[in-house]
Every structure is written in C-alpha cells, then in structure tokens.
C-alpha cells in the first residue's frame, strides 16, 4: 500500500525537525505508543496499544530513523508485530517552510499482514490516514508544551 500526504505544523522546519527526532516527543505523538526505548543510534524499540472502536491490539516493534538531512528530510522505518498481524512501513518525510510554519509531506510504502490484512481491507487505508493525522495533530500540540 502506498501512503502519501502532507500536514502543516505551526512552527518552523528547524523546530519541527528537532521535535520529530526526539524520542520523548515521538512517544507522546505516536497514537497508542506506550513506550519508546532507545536501542541504538536512531533506533528504538516501541510498544504500542491500539484501540480503535472495538478493535484492539498490542504491538511490539522497532522504529528507525535514517537518511537525516536536517532540517529538510529524513526516512522513518517502522515495524510492528502483534497477535492480530504485523505491519511494516517505510516513508520519506520532507519538511519545507511555509509561511511561519512547516509543510511536512510524506511518501512511502506500508505493508500489512496477518488477520488485519485479510479482514481489514476496506479499513486499512482510512485507519492509516487517521493515525497519521492524529500523529501530526499531537505533534502540533508540542509547541505549546515545549515552547
């Protein structure tokens, strides 16, 4: 599945970039993230609990950040496995100044397997978009908290 889109954040690219590399910020912004633990340079182990209406599932996975070119772009690799299936995502995020804020555009591939893939067809797309939206909304709230 191809994923692409963009979101606007109310702070400049430098700030946005830094926030997105900060594990504490990511832990707060990633929907359902319960813990994000550093395991290496730009590598983290993540525990997630997703609850979406009746759906619920715990995932364990890895987050990796590569190809950093601050403050313009970086690549995010996410991998998660749980009882209800697994997912792997790989996306390039680009940051560009837009007025006083930042336009973050992303483009990538996501792969979903297991029960989720087999029965969630009509929902995967919308759910992915919703989660991404929630992520950026949460990120947007960071400004207030971290100044």
């Amino acid at each position: 599945m191809k994923i692409s889109g963009s979101h606007t954040l109310q702070f400049p690219p430098e700030k946005a970039y830094t926030l997105m590399q900060d594990p504490d910020v990511l832990a707060r912004a990633i929907p359902g993230c319960e813990s994000l633990e550093k395991t290496g340079e730009d590598e983290y182990r993540m525990k997630m609990k997703m609850a979406l209406a009746s759906f619920s599932g715990a995932f364990e996975g890895k987050v990796r950040i590569t190809d950093q070119t601050p403050p313009q772009s970086f690549r995010l690799l996410v991998e998660g496995t749980g009882k209800i299936g697994f997912m792997r995502g790989n996306g390039l995020l680009k940051l560009a100044a837009s007025g006083a804020g930042t336009e973050v555009s992303y483009e990538g591939d996501a792969l979903v397997g297991g029960t989720m893939a087999a029965v969630g067809q009509r929902l995967i797309d919308g759910t992915a978009r919703m989660l991404i939206k929630r992520f950026f909304e949460k990120l947007g709230e960071e400004k207030a908290a971290s100044g």
Partner: protein
C-alpha cells in the same frame, strides 16, 4: 412387514426429489464436526503469517505449559511423516518435499508450522497464541508471470527460475496454418484465482485404537479410498489398519478432491497421544490453506480464413501453481490443453504450459478443473475472431462445429469425442431467447447510445473421468449390490457423493433394474470399511462411471435372481420382471423376497451356484464422455456506474440421457452460480508480499441467491455410446458454459466503444473505466517472443 411388490412404473427420467434432502434441510445430518468421542482432544494449527520466511527460532514452552494443553508438535516432530502427496506425473516435474508441518522454511501465508492439542478449542487457540516464532522474512512473489521473470525471488531455493515444469503439445501443422491464414487474432486472457468455499470447511477426526492397531479417520473428503491409501503411506501404517469414514460432506467443488497435511497430522497426533483428536478448519484457514482454483494467464493466437474457418490455435498457459503440488495441481492445465479446440474442427494446435511456483496456496481442481479455462479461452477467441471478420457469433460457430456425422471425432489434442450434435442446443437456445428480435432491439438501442449485449457460448467438456490410463489414480469405479434375506437392497458405491444426489439417482437405477420400490433400496458410500474400494466423486464421473458399475453389478445379480427363481420354480423358461421371476410355461412365480430368502437359507442350490445374493462390479470405461451445450446471456450496462444487469440467462445443456431432471437442473443452476461468480465477482487477491487480502467473506464476493438471475434451462439429449446408461455428466457443465457467455455478453455490449476483451471478474469499476474510454487492449506485445 412390507412386501416387495411388482412395480411397472420406471423411475429413471423422473423428477424425483432427492432422498438426502430431508436430513440436510432439517439439520439432522452428521458432519465431521458433529462427531464427539469420549476423551476427545481438539487441535489448533499455528500457521505462517508470512509468504516466504525461515523460522529462526520457535519457542513453544509457554503453550505446552498452558493449562489444558495435551501436547504441542512442530515440524521437527513430524519430519518423518511422509510428504503431502502429488498424484500427477509429468515428465521432468519438479516436486518440492511437502512436509505436513514446515520444519524450517515456509512458502505461503497459512503454511502450517505447529499444532497445539488441548482439551477444548478455546484452550488450544489461547495456547497457540503463546507460541513465539522469530521469523527471517524473505522476498515473496505472488504473481505467476512475475515469478517466471528474471530476478524474481525463488519460491524454492533449489529452482531459481520458479518453473515446476513445462509441457508442450502439438497436433497437425500449426506453422502452415498460420502461414496460410487470412487473419490472425491474438489475445491475453486470464482466468483468475478462485476460492472454492464449500459451505462446510474441511475437518478431521482421528481415533487410534491401539489395542486393535486401527486408525479411524473421519474426514470431509471427496475421495475416502484414495485418502486411505495415501494417508496410510504417509503414516507408515498398513493400509488395512486405516479406515476412512466420510460422513456428510457439505460441498467440495474439487477442494476436497485432495489429501491435505491435516489428515496425516491428526492421524499422527492421535497415534502419539492415544486419544481421539478433532480439527475443524476455520473459514479463514479455508481461504488461506485449502486449494484455490484456476490461476491462468493464457496467450492465445487463432488463425483463420476470410470466411471464418478456424485453421489453427496457439496457446501458452502460464499456470499459477502456488508453492506446492497438491494431489492434481500440475495436471489441471493439461486438461485445458486437451479441451482447447472446443467444439471446433481445427486440426492444427500448439500448446505450451509453464507451471509457475508462487508464494501462494496451491491451485488444484475446482469445479470444471481446466475445462472452464479452455472453454473461456476458445469461446472468447471465437467471438474476437467474429468481431474481426464482422461475422455474427452464431454464424462463425455453426461454420466451425464438428458435424453430427463426424463422430467419433479424433481431435487435434488426441481425444476422441464420443457423440454430438452441436447445433442442436445452440439453435434451441437461440429460439428460447428470441435471437433475431434481440439483435434488432440492440441495433435500436445502439443508436441511442444504450449498451446492451448478447453473449453466446457453445461449450464442450470432458466428463466421466475416465479411462484408467488417462487418470492419475485409476479411472474405473465400483459398485456392490447386496440383497438381504428379507429382500431389501443395499447399494455400495465407490464414488463418494457429497451433494450430487446419487443416493437418489443410484436408487432410481437399482429400483428400475430390479423392479422394486425405491424405498427398499439403501445407498451407502464413504466408508472404506463398508465399501469395497472406489475412486471418488469428481470430474462429473459418478453417474457415468459409478452408475455404470452399479448397472453391471445389477445385471450380474439379476442373472442370479433369475437363475435361482427358475430353479425354485423348476422352470427352464422363466422371466425376471418387476421384481418377480415367472415361469413362462406355468405362470407360477417367486418374488424377489422369496428368492432372496431361499438363496441365504440355501436348502437347495442350483448347480455351481453359491448361496447369497451379492454382486460386485468394477467398471473400466473405454473413453471419456463429452457433453456440450449452449448458454446465452442478455445483459444491460449502466453507462454511468458500470453496473451489469443480467436480463436473460438461457442454458441448454446436452448431458446425454437424464436420470433425474430435477437433479440435473440443480447441477446446472449451481454451476451457473459459480460461473457467474468467476465472471462477475470472485477473485482471490494476493498483494505483492503474498498476503491474501480477500481473506474473509467480507471481501471475497461469493454469489448469493439474491444476486442470481432467473435461469431458463432446457436440454437436448444425445446419448453416449461409452456406457449403457447413455449418460455423460453434468456436474461442471453450468460453470464451464457460463463464464464465456457472460463475458461475451458484456464485451458485445461495449463493442461499439471499441472494447474487444475484458478480464474477469468484470467489476463495475472495470466496466466504468472502459466506458470512460480507457483502453481494453491487454498487453499482447510479448506474445511474439513467447509463442
């Protein structure tokens, strides 16, 4: 006590209701899941979520310690069990070792890797969730054409080209036909993967009686005897120590014409634990792990003269085999090749098959098995040729049909068609639908821009599998008829019907032959301890081959009844009729009941005659049979949405003599439902990583009653000389005739827009895009290199 009375009325040919239906529709039939045994355990199978991966490590300790769990077995434990069998042998066929549990590598999503056995299903499933597997995920390929392209990830590392076999067949002089052709039409035609979706999923109960050294295996299968032979081999058990029982089977459509890992696995578990064990396949497992059907990519070329005479056909089939060969996997496309000329005279053919491994569940026989693909191909190509030559699709068919007087007709693919009169059902169907008037209406509509289509298919098929040399496990069938001392009759047939209604039709045959009441006849099947031996029910064979075996067993028995009756009457001139032997001189008579009693009481016996009334016959057919027919679909297309409405559906089938028109209609209706399913709705979709994304009923569009058109069905009757009943077979006809008629209809509707071909399923979005003007031309450029 009921007496057997003389009964002149013949039952064969009557619209008798099925005797098996009351127990089915009142929910009182016994299926595998209804079997309960004291101390029975339940198994849940752990399967790979990945299409291609290696097991780096597997930790089953938590599962094994879970309260209520009796045992956990992995591929390491079952490595010595024989492989899941492949029954077809093609020259040079590459056969991967198909372990019942993968010990190291997995090749498709759903590949079994462990089994958890516990006191109930819930406990087993909870424990299964506790198994931890660390996977090394590898690259997968799910598309057969991509699989055989350079650089594709190898499904089996030992065969990097992903080719399981290639097969070449040629008849006549194809090169000459193409060199001298006035016109050549080419098309890539696909026949998508389908999920057979029997209403009852598979299931196995295994019971090991250690003291008797006896394994009882209850399985929802179409082939109990073959299963016994093969599973005994897998388990290293003497064949006579294994009994396979097939209780009620809730549909198979070919998907249960197989021996699966689970049958041997449950046998293994029961023998290890000394307790009965049950496994019932979930719907999700059924979608993932029971064979799929079709999976063809076909490249066709047809050469013809200006007048429409077809002179040659070239065909390249790329068959998506999946990751393994199940029982008949590689054989299915070879059936397509046999039927590639359809009903047409063409003497020149060339066919190639490339069997491609993919990281998907294996394909195998599904209603029609190879023939729907062939019929779909040739019937589409004939329409494409007609369009090219601006001929009417009826005219081009009539021109190329093998004629009535040409039978028996040797085909370019090496078959001998038994009998036929192909214009008969076509003309009948045209009359029923009012062809001329519809074409006039269509012309009017076209002026207004409305899209209406008339699609015709004239199909032929191979039935009554088959002569043994041409059928992997033997093509004969057997029957035993036993008359008890009280005169009641038991028929034991080796074919194992599972919805086809043979408990009724076979009783009809026996009732007529013996001249007795149908209620005095019991038809038994599906238990290797009761039935002598048999091949099974598939390939539209049960009545034509099994029914014929029954017919001959009845003849043997009738001879004995007559002999015994005459002996009792002290007559040298007696007749058996209506269940009574009468002396033609004195008029004295003995009923079947009296004779039966005397044969068992055996006070006096005729010379060289054994007591008892029992006869067994194994019948070997000399040829297949070749039914045929014509289907016509009238459709209307909603330009705005791409929606297809079926206005009329005509099915005229010629399956030889009809034993029970009600059952024949039912077979045609069910067949058409599955044909429409393929043409319009169904498709097993794997994504690029090998995940089956139509993994449940929520996304796999199965036809339902309310989606079906009214089917106007009728018949013509051209008996076969191959068997004395004159029956050909009708189990798959509806499916085979249907899909090309449906597609031809929609292509006909869209032809004013320049559309020449549409691949199945013809979803509304696909049609809408065609109406929007997207090109329908499938890639044909590669054909030159391939053929």
């Amino acid at each position: 006590m009921a007496t057997t009375i003389a009964k002149p009325e013949l039952l064969v040919g009557k619209r008798l209701r099925r005797r098996e239906d009351p127990r089915l529709i009142t929910g009182t039939a016994t299926y595998v899941d209804d079997i309960k045994m004291p101390g029975m355990l339940y198994a849940v199978i752990v399967r790979s979520p990945h299409a291609a991966a290696s097991i780096k490590s597997m930790d089953v300790s938590k599962a094994a310690q879970h309260p209520g769990v009796a045992a956990v077995f992995t591929g390491k434990d079952t490595e010595k069990v024989g492989p899941v069998p492949c029954g077809s042998s093609l020259p040079g066929l590459r056969v991967p070792h198909h372990y019942i549990l993968a010990p190291e590598r997995v090749y498709f999503v759903g590949h079994p890797v462990a089994v958890v056995v516990a006191t109930d299903r819930y406990v087993a499933k909870d424990a299964a969730d506790l198994i931890e597997i660390d996977w090394d995920v590898r690259g997968a390929v799910a598309d057969p054409e991509k699989a055989i392209a350079d650089g594709a990830p190898p499904v089996h590392p030992q065969w990097p080209d992903n080719k399981a076999f290639t097969h070449h067949q040629e008849g006549g002089d194809v090169d000459k036909a193409f060199a001298e052709a006035d016109v050549i039409v080419k098309q890539r035609i696909t026949s998508q993967r389908l999920i057979p979706t029997a209403m009852e999923t598979r299931g196995v109960v295994a019971e090991w009686r250690a003291a008797d050294r006896q394994l009882n295996l209850y399985s929802s299968t179409q082939i109990p005897h073959l299963m016994r032979s093969l599973v005994a081999q897998m388990l290293g058990l003497e064949e006579n120590r294994l009994r396979v029982v097939t209780p009620e089977v809730g549909g198979g459509f070919g998907s249960k014409l197989n021996v699966y890992a689970e049958e041997a696995l449950m046998g293994f578990v029961a023998m290890k634990l000394g307790k009965p064990v049950k496994w019932i396949e979930s719907r999700r497992e059924n979608f993932l792990c029971t064979i799929h059907g079709r999976g063809h990519v076909d490249y066709y070329e047809v050469a013809a003269k200006k007048d429409g005479t077809i002179t040659g056909i070239k065909l390249l089939i790329i068959q998506d085999l999946g990751a393994y060969h199940q029982l008949l996997t590689p054989a299915i496309p070879t059936l397509s090749v046999l039927m590639m000329p359809g009903l047409y005279k063409t003497a020149n053919i060339r066919a190639d098959i490339i069997g491609a491994f993919t990281n998907c569940v294996p394909t195998d026989a599904y209603r029609g098995a190879g023939r729907p693909e062939a019929t779909h191909g040739i019937e589409r190509m004939v329409d494409i040729l007609a369009a090219e030559l601006k001929m009417d699709p009826v005219e081009i068919r009539l021109k190329n049909f093998i004629q009535k007087e040409d039978f028996p007709f040797p085909t370019a693919t090496g078959l001998t068609y038994d009998t036929g009169d192909y214009s008969l059902p076509l003309k009948k169907a045209l009359g029923m639908v009012g062809y001329e008037k519809l074409r006039a209406e269509q012309a009017e509509k076209r002026k207004k821009g409305e899209l209406m289509g008339i699609g015709i298919s004239t199909y032929g098929e191979i039935c009554a599998f088959g002569p043994s040399p041409a059928t992997p496990a033997g093509g004969w069938e057997s029957a035993t008829v036993k008359i008890d001392p009280s005169g009641k009759v038991t028929v034991m047939t080796g074919c194992s019907p599972h919805g086809q209604g043979e408990e009724t039709t076979f009783a009809q045959i026996a009732a007529d032959e013996l001249g007795i009441d149908i209620d005095d006849i019991l038809v038994l099947h599906g238990d290797t301890a009761i039935v002598q031996y048999g091949i099974g029910t598939f390939g539209s064979r049960a009545t034509a081959v099994g029914g014929t075996a029954l017919y001959f067993a009845l003849q043997d028995l009738k001879a004995k009844i007559k002999k015994f009756g005459a002996f009792l009457l002290e007559s040298d001139d007696a007749t058996l009729a209506g269940g009574v032997v009468t002396c033609n001189k004195t008029g004295a008579s003995k009923t079947l009941q009296e004779i039966a009693g005397a044969t068992y009481r055996a006070m006096k016996l005729p010379a060289n005659t054994e007591p008892g009334l029992i006869a067994t016959h194994f019948w070997e057919p000399t040829n297949f049979t070749f039914p045929f027919g014509a289907h016509i679909v009238v459709s209307d297309i909603d330009r705005e949405t791409g929606g297809i409405t079926i206005r009329r559906y005509i099915a005229v089938d010629d399956c030889g003599n009809i034993l029970n028109p009600l059952i024949v209609d039912g077979q045609v209706h069910g067949g058409v439902a599955q044909g429409l399913g393929q043409a319009l709705w169904e498709e097993a979709v794997y994504d690029e990583s090998g995940q089956l994304v139509t993994g449940e009923m929520t996304d796999y569009v199965l036809p339902r009653a309310h989606m079906m058109p009214w089917i106007e069905s009728d018949h013509t009757t051209t008996p076969t000389p191959v068997n004395p009943l004159g029956v050909k077979g009708v189990g798959e006809a509806g499916t085979i005739g249907c899909s090309p008629a449906m597609v031809n209809s929609v292509v006909d509707a869209l032809s004013p827009l320049g559309v020449r071909h549409i691949d199945m399923p013809m979803t509304p979005e696909k049609i809408w895009r065609l109406v929007q003007g997207a090109s329908s031309q499938e890639p044909v450029a590669r054909m030159g290199e391939r053929l």
